[in-house]
């Protein structure tokens, strides 16, 4: 079974993964690994997490078949796994609740997190409020300006939001700053890393907390359709929602696993976040050996996507393994294609997806046309699009010139968020 061959070397998925960190963090990573391994076989921990899933997050999330949308997918049937209906509006809460419970278990009193556009930051601030932990969230200065609404949300939840002015002042720099904080305060602080990358045990641990997406979805599809889907589509920033839904299907060889990356303005334009289809090559970033967008000197190249949640120059190491082993396929979706899928789902089904998730929908449109009317496609709808209304309204020119001026003025006085990540 492919999912078991991944654990032959500690923390490695094939060649990918590992632990490229300052020595000062190794003890904390070992402590975390020990605690989470014990926790994952402790009925009390698992019971507490399950209860939070049920009574706080609203799990199990439902599946929804979208026939009117599917008319644009070559007639294949399309089913959405509705992570957008979770408390805080995305899949991110699954991982955060697991990690804040672990934080308590380790006797630490403070959590830190990085966030690109807000969704993981909001989830972490929420989990910290729920369990009475101090919380600091690092966010690139550019993102705090674009995502003022989510900054306000985090502050309302009691978190301190720290704008990061280094480097490109976006997500990857927020990750660097979170690591710096962690190196300094590791005794009291746990770093709630938001996706399936970073040093071991993060990629494995975050995947395991999100695995519930695929476990539920696989059973729900079997119950409703009497068979497995032909393909599972999910957007991939860092790749946590995708790993969450893929993992339960890895040992089902007839199910195609398709990850959709931020293709931005097109892979040839150089302005994209396509780590598997652009000029990315294996390297080390943020503690893991994986595919990285880098120049010919090994310096990280800035990525671009209309979706802030997919705008990250690296990707989880298990995705790198699934890709190189041929078990999963990855393809870029351009900003244009994603926004077309966004509008289509809204108008045909009355669901506003996160722009991140719209990349997965665009992937479903393509694979649906390959499969034809006999096909059944499962899509991870990783988050909801409320946060993206401003971006989408501008993209589609839904506001008149006067309204845009008015909105800009209002924004200057009381900033409103543009887009928030939920695809990582």
């Amino acid at each position: 079974m492919i999912s078991e061959t991944t654990t032959e070397r500690l923390g490695r998925f094939g060649d990918f993964g590992g632990r490229y960190v300052p020595e000062a963090l190794v003890a904390a990573l070992e402590e975390l690994d020990e605690h989470r391994q014990k926790a994952m076989s402790d009925p009390e921990f698992l019971g507490a997490l399950a209860e939070l899933h049920r009574s706080y997050t609203g799990r199990p999330s439902i599946i929804t078949e979208v026939p009117r949308f599917a008319e644009h997918c070559g007639g294949a049937r399309v089913v959405l796994k509705r992570e957008d209906l979770n408390h805080t509006g995305s899949h991110k809460i699954n991982n955060v609740l697991g990690q804040v419970l672990l934080t308590k278990r380790m006797g630490k009193s403070r959590v830190i997190a990085e966030t690109g556009a807000g969704q993981h930051g909001v989830a972490t601030a929420t989990g910290a409020a729920l369990l009475g932990l101090e919380c600091t969230v690092y966010m690139g200065r550019v993102d705090t300006e674009r995502q003022a609404l989510n900054v306000a949300r985090m502050r309302l939840l009691g978190a301190e939001v720290v704008p990061v002015d280094h480097g490109s002042r976006t997500l990857k720099d927020a990750v660097n700053e979170a690591f710096r904080d962690w190196v300094t305060n590791v005794d009291s602080t746990h770093y709630v890393l938001g996706t399936v990358t970073g040093p071991y045990p993060f990629p494995e641990m975050v995947r395991d907390f999100h695995r519930i997406i695929g476990v539920e979805a696989r059973q729900q599809v079997l119950d409703a359709y009497g068979r497995l889907p032909d393909a599972v589509c999910a957007c991939v920033g860092g790749g946590s929602n995708a790993m969450g839904i893929f993992h339960r299907f890895v040992d089902d060889p007839d199910v195609r696993l398709i990850g959709l990356e931020g293709g931005g303005e097109g892979v040839d334009s150089g302005r994209h976040a396509a780590r598997f289809t652009g000029q990315a090559t294996p390297g080390v970033l943020h503690g893991a050996y994986t595919y990285v967008l880098q120049d010919d000197d090994g310096q990280t190249v800035e990525s671009h996507s209309v979706s802030a949640g997919l705008d990250y120059p690296s990707v989880g190491p298990e995705h790198a393994f699934l890709r190189d082993s041929g078990r999963a396929e990855y393809a870029p979706v351009t900003d244009d294609e994603a926004m077309e899928a966004f509008a289509l789902l809204a108008r045909t089904e009355g669901i506003l997806p996160a722009i991140e998730s719209a990349h997965a929908l665009a992937g479903a449109m393509k694979v649906g046309r390959e499969l034809g009317p006999e096909g059944l496609v499962l899509v991870s709808l990783s988050g909801r699009g409320d946060k993206d209304v401003d971006t989408a309204a501008r993209w589609f020119g839904l506001l008149s010139g006067e309204e845009i001026v008015e909105a800009e003025q209002k924004k200057a006085e009381e900033p409103v968020g543009e887009s928030a990540g939920s695809g990582g």
Binding site: E23, A27, R180, G287, Q299
Partner: protein, 267 residues
């Protein structure tokens, strides 16, 4: 090659600690950084850590990151590090490269080792590469007779101190505190305690860094360590200078002060 171990042994014979100074290549530009590393050597620095600027330096504080970012904006390339190493070597001091792992990995580990050796460099300090992940580097450094300077931290267990020092060569970089590079008002008690714990498991020379910035602090650390590492304070003289000549003069003045500190506090 001017071996780090020879320089450390010589300092020990003289009854003092060695002074290790860090500067990134390419700041303010490649030529300016070459002048700056020469100035360090002329002002009494025994070992120069030539920093390789990297886009994501997660172990560095704001001063070093500012310099590295400007160096990258100025177009510094990985190969430029060998130019600075050669300059240090020709000026008569030992040169080591401090680098995050990805640029070396991307350049090619063996090729990097060969070019470093050819330039007269002694070895590498790798802040985000622990011995557990360093097999390729351990083999390449053996082939090219280079030093492997790994870090130990206050959080390192005795088992890890033993493993890390067992894999190291040249000296051991003792991180004085939990944190990133940058000046601190005091060195703190953790450094002395960690030096003591590390000495219990190795005979390698121990050089203490992170947070050391003044003559007094250097003298204090020289009382219990074989070498004292100063980075951000030196870089700051160049970052804050109104013009390159003033920066160089300030750099020389500070390096002389620090070198005096290393002599005052010798064990």
């Amino acid at each position: 090659m001017t071996a780090v171990s020879e320089v450390l042994a010589r300092a020990k014979d003289e009854g003092r600690a060695a002074l290790v100074g860090y500067l990134p290549v390419g700041f303010p530009d490649v030529e300016g950084s070459v002048r700056a590393v020469r100035a360090l050597v002329e002002s009494g620095v025994d070992i120069v850590e030539v920093g390789l600027p990297y886009t994501d330096p997660l172990m560095d504080g704001p001063v070093i990151q500012t310099a590295a970012t400007r160096a990258l904006e100025g177009g510094v390339r990985v190969r430029d590090v060998f130019t600075a190493v050669r300059a240090v070597h020709e000026a008569g001091a030992a040169a080591v490269v401090m680098t995050y792992w990805n640029p070396v990995l991307h350049y090619g580990v063996d090729r990097f080792a060969a070019d470093l050796s050819a330039a007269g460099g002694s070895g590498l300090i790798t802040p985000d590469l622990v011995p557990d992940e360093a097999q390729e580097w351990i083999e390449a450094s053996d082939r090219h007779d280079l030093d492997r300077i790994f870090l130990v931290a206050p959080s390192s267990t005795t088992e890890r101190l033993r493993m890390t020092t067992g894999a190291a060569r040249g000296f051991v970089y003792v991180a004085a505190l939990m944190g990133v590079t940058g000046a601190r008002t005091s060195v703190g008690d953790a450094a002395g305690a960690l030096v003591e714990r590390t000495r219990a498991v190795t005979d390698l020379p121990l050089c203490v860094g992170l947070g050391v910035s003044t003559r007094e602090q250097v003298a204090q650390v020289a009382g219990f360590a074989d070498g004292v590492i100063v980075g951000s304070a030196l870089v700051r003289t160049l970052v804050d200078a109104p013009d390159p000549d003033t920066g160089l003069a300030d750099l020389r003045a500070l390096a002389r002060e620090l070198a005096a500190g290393a002599r005052e506090g010798g064990r």
